[in-house]
């Protein structure tokens, strides 16, 4: 069974997922970061594949990704770093990146390396659902790699149904119309959207704007948990990652 499914089966509530870019803050921090997060009791980790042009990301993730690239990070190096990761890391792992990098690496090679490193899923925000289903779905499934899909407050009901049908693992529920790292406003409209997605069969995690215990708990009350990226990167940058994760749990 895919580790993502296992996680949602074993723990349906308050799932804490953390995002950080590979090779950040230092080039060889990828696996130590994972170990640290697992030891702290984090449930799921998304490892960002740094990209020169991260369209969906706000300034904090852009700057971190650029630093990581400047330090020599690449997808090839990431797979080298993750080669032995399953000897110590048991939580589900997801790679999140932009399609150009994956395409350039070669989709077959990428999926093969995901499988051999024990990667459970990928988030590729700019790979359209239609292209995925027509050209790549069979390959992803053959390698046991889940393609995690996003929904947003603007996603129409019709499209939501289509996404739900194609989705694996969980839905990445984007909290608001913004790039990563914005603030999460609370409103009835927003809560209605959360409730609508939560009512679907497939589990969901809320991301974008989740930055502390209060917003984590608020988001988790409408879903199976939440994803924290920008706030964790800020903590990594300032050397307060340990205190930050403690404050969430």
């Amino acid at each position: 069974m895919n580790r993502i499914d296992q996680l949602f089966q074993n723990k349906g509530k308050d799932i804490l997922s953390i995002y950080f870019p590979a090779g950040y803050p230092n080039l060889n921090d990828t696996v130590p970061n994972l170990q640290f997060l697992q030891d702290k009791g984090v449930d799921l980790v998304e490892i960002g594949i740094p990209f020169s042009d991260p369209l969906a990301d706000g300034p904090v993730i852009q700057i971190a990704a650029k630093q990581s690239l400047d330090q020599g990070m690449s997808l090839k190096l990431l797979f080298q770093q993750l080669k032995e990761v399953r000897s110590t890391i048991t939580m589900p792992l997801i790679l999140m990146g932009y399609w150009n990098v994956v395409f350039k690496y070669g989709v077959d090679a990428f999926l093969l390396d995901c499988q051999s490193c024990g990667i459970d899923g990928v988030i590729l925000p700019d790979l359209p659902l239609e292209e995925y289903e027509e050209e790549f779905k069979t390959k992803f499934e053959a390698h046991g790699v889940y393609n995690i899909l996003l929904v947003t407050p603007q996603t129409t009901n019709q499209r939501m149904a289509k996404i739900e049908k194609a989705a694996k693992g969980f839905l990445y529920m984007v909290s608001s119309s913004a790039t990563t790292g914005g603030a999460l406003e609370q409103s009835t409209e927003r809560e209605d959207y959360f409730k609508k997605v939560a009512s679907l069969e497939i589990p969901s995690l809320i991301g974008f704007g989740i930055h502390d215990k209060a917003s984590f708990q608020h988001a988790s009350s409408f879903s199976n948990g939440a994803i924290i990226g920008t706030a964790f990167i800020k903590a990594l940058t300032s050397g307060t990652a340990s205190e930050f994760v403690d404050s969430l749990l």
Binding site: Q62, E131, T155
Partner: protein, 393 residues
Amino acid sequence: MSKNKYAVNERGYYGRFGGAYIPELLRANVDELRENYLKIINSEQFQKDYKRLLDNYVGRPTPLTKVGNLSKRYGTNIYLKREDLTHTGAHKINNTVGQILIAKYMGKTRIIAETGAGQHGVATATVCALFGLECVVYMGALDIERQAPNVARMKMLGAKVVPAISGNQTLKDATNEAIRDWIANPNSFYLIGSVVGPHPYPDMVTRLQSVISEEIREQLTKETGNPNPDYVIACVGGGSNAAGAFYHYLDEEDVKLVAVEASGLGVSSGETAATITIGDIGFIHGSKTMLMHDEDGQITEPYSISAGLDYPGVGPLHAHLAETGRAQFLSVTDREALDAAMVLARSEGIIPALESAHALAALEQMTFDKDDVIVVNLSGRGDKDMETYIKNI
């Protein structure tokens, strides 16, 4: 006239290039535009309003000038399509006038744009002033420094110019910032400046620029009795002026289409913007196209002396025209473009934009018969480039 062979399909592809490779965060915005743009463009009201603006505000039709001295130099018949004579000084205004109408019909009140050298930013600020709409232009922080006069123009026209401080702080980063703004403000209208971006932008901008080849056909018919020249030559960065100059000739296979890229210091120098020549398939700003990127898929910073050609990708239509061989792609260095600008200035009394000088420089690389009819799209005028010309000539 049918455009079947080179037309975009329903999903936004030209052959295998194009599409809409965008995050779900942008899906609703792009869908709204896709569902509306053709309906609006094909409406009688739009056609009337657009025509009126092109005629009385932009200054169309622009002349098709037969340039005698240049014709003599190359032993053939050369015509220049004078986009340099439009309001704001380049073809960019054809597109912004059209998109601002589309924005208005869609009920949008806030306009977002990206700009490199500032030409599209100025053309956008211009139409926003005309229609009384809020205008936010993203521009690389480095470009803001390099292009102070255009920054001043945009501000005088009432636009807010926001520096893009991510990446290398040039056009591609400004485009990223504009798209991020659109993600955060789905009710705004993103007025893109070239035939790039997710579907329907490449098709929409091509249609709005197609007035260039529509006029060439009429003017050539009057001049020579034949709407078709032997060659149409245009420079390509993102590719909007070339798309407009080629459009009505795409299915006229006897018309040779020549697209000219900027090779900067040379195609193998590492300082180039010759995407078709040295790039391969990739994804940028929502489009599957030819792209300059490294072996890890990180997008490379392009270089050209001409800021308007300084883009690491190219419109998907052009990627398709290159792949099918429908258009021939040439490349021209900084030096060759500067020399061609000087030749035109001295022989015809016309100072071209540096971008257009690339198209003119291609004449040096080609051979013509004495009866050939050649149309070079003179996409813009050189006022904005005087500082570069003074430094280099």
